[in-house]
Symmetry: C2
Subunit: 517 residues, 2 copies
Amino acid sequence: MVLNAVGREIPEEVAGRKLVPFAGAFKTLPCKRKAAPLIKHIGRDDRKLVPSLEEAIRRVGLKDGMTISFHHHLRNGDGVINLVVDTIASMGIKDLRLAQVALFPVHEPIIEHLKNGVITRIEGSINGPVGLYASAGKLKAPVVLRSHGGRTRAVEADDLHVDVAFVGAAMADDYGNCNGMYGPSAFGPISYSMIDALYADHVIVLTDNLVDYPATPLSIDQSRVDYVVEVDSIGDPKGIESGTTKITSSPTRLKIARYVIEVLRHSGLVKDGFSFQAGAGGISLAVVKYLGELLEEEDVIASFAMGGTTRFLVDILEKGRVKKILDAQAFDLASLDSLRNNPNHVEVSAYMYANPHTRGAIVNRVDTGFLGATEVDLDFNVNVNTHSDGMMLHGTGGHSDVAAGSKLTFITVPLYRGRLPIIVDKVTNVTTPGETIDVVVTDAGIAINPRRKDLMEKMEGTGLPIRSIEELYEEAISITGKPEKPEFTDDIIGIIEYRDGSTIDVIRKVKGYEYGG
Amino acid sequence: MVLNAVGREIPEEVAGRKLVPFAGAFKTLPCKRKAAPLIKHIGRDDRKLVPSLEEAIRRVGLKDGMTISFHHHLRNGDGVINLVVDTIASMGIKDLRLAQVALFPVHEPIIEHLKNGVITRIEGSINGPVGLYASAGKLKAPVVLRSHGGRTRAVEADDLHVDVAFVGAAMADDYGNCNGMYGPSAFGPISYSMIDALYADHVIVLTDNLVDYPATPLSIDQSRVDYVVEVDSIGDPKGIESGTTKITSSPTRLKIARYVIEVLRHSGLVKDGFSFQAGAGGISLAVVKYLGELLEEEDVIASFAMGGTTRFLVDILEKGRVKKILDAQAFDLASLDSLRNNPNHVEVSAYMYANPHTRGAIVNRVDTGFLGATEVDLDFNVNVNTHSDGMMLHGTGGHSDVAAGSKLTFITVPLYRGRLPIIVDKVTNVTTPGETIDVVVTDAGIAINPRRKDLMEKMEGTGLPIRSIEELYEEAISITGKPEKPEFTDDIIGIIEYRDGSTIDVIRKVKGYEYGG
C-alpha cells in the first residue's frame, strides 16, 4: 500500500494490474509511445456491408477474453450494447472485457451477461443498475473508472486495448463513413467513438439508417471501419434527454445557480473572449441560462462554449453571445438542428476535448466549468463515483478533466440531500482532487478553496455569503446529523483512474453488501 | 538486380535503402504496424504561439539529418517551403531530408540549398527546376517519388518518418486549430498535411491569418500541433491556378475529351450512382465539362466526384447532377466558395482519398478517372515522372492511386507532342502499371487494354475509332520518326515507389547530363 497525493491507500497491484499512485493533478506525464495497431488492407473489390451482426463478429474474429467497446451517445436510449452483447452471448463467446464509455439503466440486461460469464470485466462508466451489481464485487477484476479524457488517453497509450469497437451510427454508408447527426436515431456528435476507431484492431459500424455512399459529414470515415451492419434500431434517441434537460424548479438549486453567476460576475473572467464548459442536469442548465443573461447584461461576447449541448446553450449561440460551440455530446434533441446547420456549432472528438496527454485539450482553454458531486470534503476533494453508502453508481464523465483544465471550477451542490450531508469531512472516494476545485457553491453559502486567495479578495464587499468549507460542513451535519459511514472489506471492486493514468482512489466493497437483484 | 512485374531491373538496395520489387498492382500487402510516435503533453498553461519561425524550430529541436515535411496545396504560389528552408539554413542546420508532397517552379531557390548541403535528400514530388537539378544526380540519395496515397501509406508505416511537419494554414488560432479555407491566402482543403499532423514528431503551423480561438473548421486540430507562428504570407493563392484552370482550346485535345465521353457513354457505367475522379489541366477540364453535359443528356445523377476541384466540377454539383464532391485539393479559387458553404462539398484527407493500405480508400469507389501521361507504351504502362529525354520532371500525384482504384481508367494523351511520340514501344520509366489502365485515348484513336474484352465488346458498332495500341504506336512514329533514346549511366537518381511501397522503377541518370542552372 502507498499513500497517494490525496491521502488514499493504493495497493501496488490489483488483479494483475500495476497501479501508479496519483501524484498530483499535473505530475504524471506521458512516457510511452502511442498504440501501433496492425496496418490493414481492404481491397478494391472487398465489400464491408455484411448481412448480419453475427457475420460481422465472425469476420473480425472476436474470441474469448477480448475487449469490446461502445460509445454512450444514446445514453439511456442506447440499443447497441444490449444487442451486441446478446448476439455475442448467443454465439458462445465469453470472458469479454466491456470497454464502453458508459452504461445507463437501460443496460440492466447486461447484468445477466455478467452472471453468465459473457462479460467478466468492465472498464468504463457504470451508471445505475450495473453499478449496483458490480458493487458486490462479483467481477473477475475491479471496474476501471476513467474520465472522458482519461479514457482517450488510455486507448492511445494502449493501456486500454480495444479488440473490436462497435459504433452505433445514426447515418452510415456501406463503406463505413458515418455520423450521429442524421436519421431516425440521430443523437448528435459521435465524438466518443473517434478514438476507438483510430486504435481498435477492428471496427464495426451498426446503423439503422444506411444511406448512399458517401455518407457525410464524415465524423468517422471509411478508412477506420472494417464492417457495416444494418440493424432495425440503434436505440431511442429520446433516452438522451432522460432527466437532463429540464431546468430545476427547486428554489434551493436555483439559488445555487444564482450564486455561481454572482461569483462569476465578480471574478473578472466574464469579458469578451470568455469561455465556459456547459453541462446538463438541473443546476447546470440553470447556470447556463443565467450565464446567457449575464453575458447580455455585461454586453460580453464569449469566444466559445464546450458542450454537453442543450437548447439553452444553443440559445446563447443564436443570440450572438457566444461565437462558437464545440460539441462532444448532445444532451437534448433540440440542439441537433444547430449542430447540423450552424457552422459555428462544431463537432469535436472526446480526445480533443479532454485528453491530458496530448498537444493541448479544449478543457485547457476553458475559463470556467460548473460540476456536480455526490460528496465534497474539507480538502475540496470531490466524489462523483460512489454514494456515501459506498455503492459504485456513477461514471466520472468529464469531471476531473474540466476541473483540471478550467481556470475557475465550481462544484454546485445542495448542502445536503435527504438526510445525507453532501459536504463531508472526508469523501468516500476521490474522483477529482481538491487542488483542481476552486469554489464549492451550496444553498447555504460559497466556499472558496484557500489556494485561491486572489478569488477570495475579489469576493470581498460583494455581499455574497462566502464561508469556509468547514463552516459549510458543520452546518450540514448540524442539520443531518453525522451519518454513520459504511464499513468496507479489503476487496477492491473499482479503480478510479485519474485522467493521467495514475490511481486516485480504489473503491472497496461495502461489508455485508450482496447484490439482491 | 531483380526483374519486377513490369519488367524493370530493380537493385536490391540503393543508398542503404532496401527495395521491394513491384509484384503487381494488388500483390504487396501491408505487414507492419502503424508508426507509434511518442505521446506528448502540453500543459494547461503552456502557450503554442511563438514569436518567430526560428524560435519554433529551436523549440522542436530540429537537428542535422532530420526530415521536414510540407503540403503542396498552394502549388506554384507556395511561400512556406522557401521561407522555412531559408530560415533553417540561416540557423546553420544542414543535411536535411525534404519530404514535401510536391515542389513547383516557385521552389527553384531550393536548388541553392541542395548545393550548399542544407537539403541533401528529397522524398517527394519535384516538378520543374528542382527536378532538372536532381536529374544530375547530385543528391546523397535518389529522390523517392510516391503517389499521393503511397505517401500517406509510407508515413503511417514509418517508411517515411517525419521529424518536423511544417503546415502552412490559411487560418489558424494560437492553439493550432487550422484550415485552408479562409483568409487572404485561402487555398481550400489542407488534406495532405493531415497524415503528417497525425504521425510527425513535431508539428509547426505557419499562418498569415491568426484568428481568435477556436479556428474552425477544424481541418487539423490543436491536439496535433506543437507550435504556431505568424508569418507575413504563406504564399500567393493565385499560384494554385497556374496553367490548370483553362479548358484546352486545341481541337486535337478537345477531340480526345469527346472520345472519353463517348467511351463512357457506351461503357454502361454512366447511370444513377455513377462516380468519377475529376482533375485539372486542359484535357481533364474539358472531360469534366462534357461529362456534366453527358449527365444532363442521360438524365443521370452521379453519387460523387472526387476532386481536384475546379469551377467546372462545382457547376455539376450546383446543377444537381452529382450529389457530393469529396475534395482533397482545390485547383482554382472559384471552387472555394462551394467548399466553404455547400455541405455536400466535403474536405477529405489524402489518406482517405488514396491510401492503398487502409480500410478502404475513396479511389476504390470511383467508377472512372481520366489521367494524363508523358508516355504510354505497348503494355499500357504509363510514365508521368520522366520525359523521353530521361529528365525527372514530374510528381506522380494521384495517378497510380486512381488507376488502381477506378473501374475504368482513361489515359488521355495526344499521339505526339512536337517531334516526340507519346505512344512509345517502352516507356522511359513506369509510374503506373498497364494492368491498371483500361483505355488510352488519343486524337488518332482509342486503344482498349486487351484485358478489357468486356469493354471492347461494348464499343462494337459505336463507330468510335477503336484501334490497337500497336497501331497507335506505328502511326505516332510514322509522323515523328523513331526518336533516339537517351543513354543512361548506372547511377540511380530516383526511385519510383508504387503506392504499396514496392519499387516499380528506378530512374537512372542520363549519360553526360550535367545541371547547367
